[in-house]
């Protein structure tokens, strides 16, 4: 997951993936990147979903919490 996010957001100033339960299917991701600046939260989260479309689509992510922000 981290690799997918790093590939999608190479300019990220903060990028974090936490396995919330230790079970490998409940995750919290944090992405802060200049490319999010000026985007609504819906647009920012859509980009995270797009980056993770594969693990989301095959069901390997059961729950995903997302925290994003644009950075200067």
């Amino acid at each position: 997951m981290r690799r997918l996010l790093e590939r999608a957001f190479p300019d990220a100033t903060e990028l974090d993936v936490v396995d919330r339960t230790g079970g490998g299917d409940h995750f919290q991701v944090v992405v802060a990147t200049p490319s999010f600046t000026g985007l609504t939260l819906v647009e920012q989260h859509r980009r995270v979903y797009d980056a993770l479309s594969e693990p989301l689509g095959d069901g390997s992510i059961h729950e995903l919490r997302i925290k994003t922000r644009g950075t200067p």
Binding site: L41, V42, H45, R46, Y49, L56, E63, R65, I66, K67
Partner: protein, 119 residues
Amino acid sequence: MSYSDRIRDVIEHSDVAIFMKGTPQFVMCGNSNRALQALRRAGAPVTAVDILPDPQIRQELSAISGWPTIPQVFVKGELVGGADIVEELEASGELEETLRDRLGGDYAGARDEKTISLV
């Protein structure tokens, strides 16, 4: 009417619509509950739709909204986000601001909560 037509109808004609797992009286998922509680704190007049009775509802909803997860919250036809965004906007006060802008200053007066069944 197909699910898609009825989903669009709810989205377009509800002040605040939440598509969730379970109902406000019996919430079946922590994330749906987080979004619902944030909406309640903001005093939103919520129209809730339970997506669990038929997996087809969720598929058709996500095809319409382009949003892969549940819950999904709409204000006046526009997607506001899922649980994380709704909580974040409520905490910052932006959710109430959005509701005032789009529903009018006295939106919390109605304070009604209803549930619509699609099946």
